[in-house]
C-alpha cells in the first residue's frame, strides 16, 4: 500500500473541515471493508485518508421521541443486527445486517460505508429504500437530506461531493412495525457478495387480502437500488394469489438491466423474479396460517 497522511478527527466539525481543506485528495474510510481493498490494490491513491472511526457523533443507534430511528453512519452491521430497536421495529434491516458478508465483515462494515462505496449490489441500499430512509449529508458549508432513491450509488461512484459525508440515516415511524422480508441470492456458496437482493415491506390490512404501504426494493438489478412501483401498486390492489405474485415478480424481473461478468441482465431478472416470488409466497402462507393474526417478519 502507498504512503498517505492519516487524519483521525474526533469531532464531526473537525472532520468536515479536514474534508473541506483536502477536497479531491482525501479518501474517506468508514469500516474499511471496501476502502482498504481499494487502497491495497492501488485503485485509489489519495494523499490523505480520513478515518471516521473516532467520531462519536457518527456512531450509535437511537430511537427518537417521534418514533423514528436514527442510525449513525458508522453503526456496524453487527450492531444493527443485534440492536433490539432494529429487531423490533425494523426487522428488515436487522435481517439485512445479519446476512451481509461474513462475521468478520459484519463486525467492520458500516451502514454509511455500505451505501457510499459505489457497489450496485451493496446490501443496505435496497433495504433502506424499502424503509423510506432519509440520509443526512453534511459538509463544512451545508447539510442536506436525501432519500435512498435519489442517492445513486452507481458503480464505483456515489452522489457525494468530495467534501461531503453521510452522517446519519433516519428510518421514519411510518416504516416501523411493518411486515418485511428479504431474499439475497449469491452467485454460489463461495461468493459472499450478493448478486441480487429483494426487500419487501408492507402493512397488513384488516382482511387477509389487504396489504397497504407495500414497498418492493431491488438491489443488483441496476446500477442503483430500484423501487418497483408497478409491483407495489399491484400488491396493494388485492389478495396475493398465484397470479398476482407471478405478475409482480414478472414486473420486477423486467427491471433488470445490469449486465456484467458475474451475471447477465437476463439472469439477474430471473433471480429477482425468484426472490420476489419466494418472499410473497411465504408471506401468503404465513398469513393463511396465522389467519390475520400477528406475523413475525
Amino acid at each position: 500500500m502507498h504512503s498517505f497522511e492519516l487524519e483521525r478527527p474526533k469531532r464531526l466539525a473537525e472532520c468536515l473541515d479536514v474534508l473541506d481543506r483536502y477536497g479531491d485528495s482525501a479518501f474517506v474510510l468508514a469500516g474499511g471493508t471496501a476502502g482498504v481493498l481499494a487502497l491495497r490494490q492501488g485503485r485509489v491513491r489519495p494523499a490523505v485518508v480520513v478515518d471516521l472511526g473516532g467520531i462519536e457523533e457518527l456512531s450509535g443507534i437511537c430511537a427518537d421521541t417521534d418514533g423514528s430511528l436514527r442510525l449513525g453512519a458508522m453503526a456496524t452491521a453487527a450492531e444493527l443486527g443485534r440492536c433490539p430497536e432494529v429487531q423490533g421495529n425494523f426487522p428488515l434491516l436487522a435481517a439485512t445486517a445479519r446476512r451481509l458478508g461474513t462475521v468478520a465483515v459484519r463486525n467492520a462494515v458500516t451502514v454509511g460505508g455500505n451505501i457510499c462505496a459505489g457497489m450496485p449490489t451493496a446490501d443496505c441500499p435496497p433495504t433502506l429504500a424499502a424503509l423510506d430512509a432519509t440520509l443526512t449529508i453534511a459538509s463544512a458549508r451545508s447539510t442536506r437530506q436525501a432519500t435512498m432513491l435519489d442517492f445513486p450509488i452507481g458503480v464505483d461512484r456515489s452522489a457525494l461531493d468530495p467534501a461531503e459525508i453521510v452522517t446519519e440515516i433516519r428510518l421514519p415511524r411510518t416504516s416501523a412495525g411493518k411486515w418485511a422480508d428479504i431474499v439475497r441470492l449469491t452467485v454460489s456458496p463461495a461468493d459472499y457478495g450478493a448478486l441480487v437482493t429483494v426487500a419487501v415491506c408492507a402493512r397488513m390490512g384488516g382482511t387477509p387480502s389487504q396489504w397497504t404501504d407495500v414497498r418492493v426494493a431491488v438491489g443488483g438489478a441496476r446500477d442503483q437500488p430500484t423501487r418497483i412501483h408497478a409491483a407495489e401498486q399491484l400488491l396493494e390492489q388485492g389478495e396475493w394469489d398465484d397470479s398476482r405474485i407471478e405478475q409482480a415478480a414478472r414486473l420486477s424481473g423486467a427491471e433488470a438491466t445490469l449486465s456484467d461478468g458475474r451475471a447477465s441482465a437476463a439472469h439477474r431478472g430471473r433471480l429477482v423474479h425468484v426472490a420476489l416470488t419466494r418472499i410473497l409466497s411465504k408471506a401468503r402462507q404465513q398469513r393463511e396460517r396465522s389467519s390475520g393474526g400477528e406475523m413475525a417478519g
Binding site: 502507498h2 504512503s3 449469491t186 461478468g261 439472469h267 430471473r270
Partner: protein, 772 residues
Amino acid sequence: MVQAAKPHGRIGERTPQRQAVEKAQGRAVYVRDMILPGMLYGRVLRSPHARARIINIDLSRALSVPGVRVIVTGADIPPGKWGPIVKDQTTLARGVVRYAGEEVAAVAAVSDDAAHEAIEAIRVEYEVERPLLDPKQALEAGCPRVHDDRSNLAREVAFSRGDVQAGFAAADAVYEATYEVPYQYHGYTEPMGTLASPDSSGRLTLWAPTQSVFFTRELVAEAVGVPVSRVRVIQTVVGGAFGGKIGEENNSAIAALLAMKAGHPVRLINDRPGDFAAARKSLPEIITLKIGVTRDGRMVAKQMYVLADNGAYSGLAPEQMVVTAMRCDNLYRIENLSTRGLLVYTNNQPSGTFRAFGTQQAQFAMDSHLTVLANMIDMDPVELLRRNAIRAGDTSVHGWEMNSCGLTDCINTVATEIGWDEKYRAAPGNGSTRRGVGIGIGIHVTGNRQLADWDGATVALKMNEDGSVNLISGEGDLGQGASTVLAELAAAELGVCFEDVVVSQADTDVVPFAFGSYASRTTLLAGNATIRAARMVREKLLNMAAERLEISESDLDIAEGWIFVKGSATVGMTVAEACRAHIFRAGGDGIYERASYDAPTVMYDRKTLYGNVAPAYSFAAQAVEVEVDTQTGVVTLIRSVVADDVGRALNPLAVEGQICGAVAQGVGWALYEDMRFDEGRLLTDDFRSYTMPVAEAIPDLQTVLVECIEPNGPLGAKGASETAIVPTAGAIANAVAHAVGVRIQSLPITGEKLLDAMLGAQTANRAGGNNA
C-alpha cells in the same frame, strides 16, 4: 522396493507437520518477512495490452522519483531467450508484448512506495495490435504468428493403439461430445516473491518459495546470462505452490536482474493482481471425445481430440498437453484408441503447471462421457467403471506397469459410503431443489521421467555429536509435509527419535542436486534415498558400537537413540556416544553418508508416448451428492467421499490434508472459480471477484485410504497430493446431470449456465412434444 529394516517410529501415525505450529502462530519466516541491510524494493510494470509493439519507453520521469535506484527494461536483458522446454521467453518484454500482464519494466527503490510511484511514472508507447485469443483461429492458415520465429503450433501429438475403427464397429453404443475447461489459478496464500542479493564479487544469492531450487538456479542463470555457479538459490518457507512456483514465470529472474544492476539486495513480491496475471495457470482445453462401448459395458474404442491453449509462452505446457492426451487412458483396460493433441500459441495469459498437471482436464471429459454411455446401455455407471478398471499386474495401453492398483477397491468403497445403489435409483423428485449423485475416478503418477529422462533423488545424512541427524536434501517442502515424512523415514530406519532429525533447507550451495517437489515424487524418490542413506549410517553406528562394546554387530540393535545388546536393553551406548567416538577415531571424520535412488522407469517414446514413466501410480475414486436449486441454478455440494489408493499412508494426517485440499481445489474449478477476461485482460484478479471455495462452500470431506502396498515405494508408499483433484469435476457434473437431467460440458457449472441449459432443455422438449 527399498524395504526398511525397522518400520516403527512415527510411521503410520498422525504426526502434525513440522512447521504447522510456527505457521499457525505467524512465526514462520516467508520471503516477504525478510529484510537485508541496504535492501531495495522491487515493482513490475505489466503490459495492459494482449498484443502490442513497444514503440518507446520513457523512463525520464520515473528515474527522477526520489529513492529510485534502478529501472530495467527489455534493453537490459542478455540476448537470447529461455524456457524450461521451449526457449521462447525473455525476462522482460523486448520490443513486443504477447499477453496482458507481461512484464515490461521493473524498478528497485528504497521504499515500496517510491517503487510504486516510479512504475506509474514510466511512459510506454504501444502500437496496439489485434490480439489472437481464439486457439482455433490461431491454427488457421495465414493467421498472424504470436512469435515471429515459430509457428503457432507449440506441440502436436498423434498416436493410436489397436484398431480404433474395428473397435467402433464392434460397439453397441457410441457417443461423441465436446468439453471445455478453463484456466484455474493456484490461489496459494503467498504470492510468488524473491529476495535477490549480490555479494561483493557479484555472485547472487536468492531466497524464494520455489518448488525447485535447481530449476530456479538454472532459469535465473540463463535469464541474467551467468553460469549457474554464480547463482545460489535457497528455498524459504513456501506459502503454497500447487505447481505455480515450479519456475516457469519471471519473478525470480527479474529480482536477480534488478539486484545485479543495483548492486544491492532487492526484494520483489508479486502483488496479487500481478500474480494472477503472471502465474502459469492450468491449461484451458477443448476436448472432443468419442467412445464406443459394447452392451456388456466394455469400452472398445476411444477417439480424442485435444486443443489446448498455451497462451503466449510455453513453460511446461507442452508436457501437460501430452498428459491430457494420454494419462486418463491408463485407468482403463482399453485396447483401441486414437488421439490427436494440439497445443497452440495465443495472446492469452500463459498456461502451465497446476496440481495434477493436465490430468483433470481430460478426466472431466472421460467421467462425464462414461456416465452418459452407461445410461445409453442401461447400465449403472459404477458397474461400467468396475468392468473397465485397470488392475494390479496389468500393463496399460501406454505401457504403464501397475505394480499396485486399488482402483476397483476405491470405486466400490465410494459407492458404498455414499449409498450409491439407493440414491442412484431414487426418483429425482419434483420440488424446487433436486438431489443427484455422481462418480468420477482418477490416476496420478508418483514421480515422472517425462521431464528430463531421469527421475531420482539423493539424500545425505550427517550425524552430529549429540546423536541428532541432519537430513540434507534439495527436494524442499511446499507445505505438503515432505520434510516431515522424510524425517519420519530417517528416524524409523536409524532408530533415533523423530525430533532428532533436522531436515535442511533446500540450498543449491549445500545440498546434492535435486529436481524438487512436483509430480508427487518426493515421498517415493527421496524417501527411498533416505532409507538407503540411513541404512549406511546405521551400519557405521553398529560397527562403531560393536568395536567399543566388543560384541558382534549382529547382536546389536538401535531404538530411540540407544544402541543396545539384543535381549539386554541396559547394556549398550547412545547413538551420540557412537557418533562422537567415530569423529575422534577417524580424525574428525564424522558419519556422513549419501545415497541416491533412481526410479526403475523408462522415458516415453516422444512420438508414440509409449513407456512406463513412473515407478508407481496412485488411484482415486470420488462419489458426490449435490443439491440443485432449480430456480436459481445454484449447485450445492452436499457430500463428497474420496477413496484414495496412496500405497501405505506414512502419515495419514498429511495424506488426508492433501486429499481434502485437492478436492476443495477441484470443487472450485468445477463450480466456483470463473476466470473472466476482456480482450485478453484478466478481470477477476482478486479474491473478491475470483471466488475460490471458502470453508462454508465445502461440506465435510470424507476420505477413505485404500492402502495398496507399492513394491517400489518406501515402506510401500505412493504419491498422495494430486490424484484427488482428478475425479472431482466429472463427479460433480455427473451428479448435476443426475439431479436435473441436464449435462453441463463446460466448467465452471455456474447457476446462470445451468439455468440456461435447463430452460433450453424445457423449450426443446416442448417443441418436440416430449413431456420429460
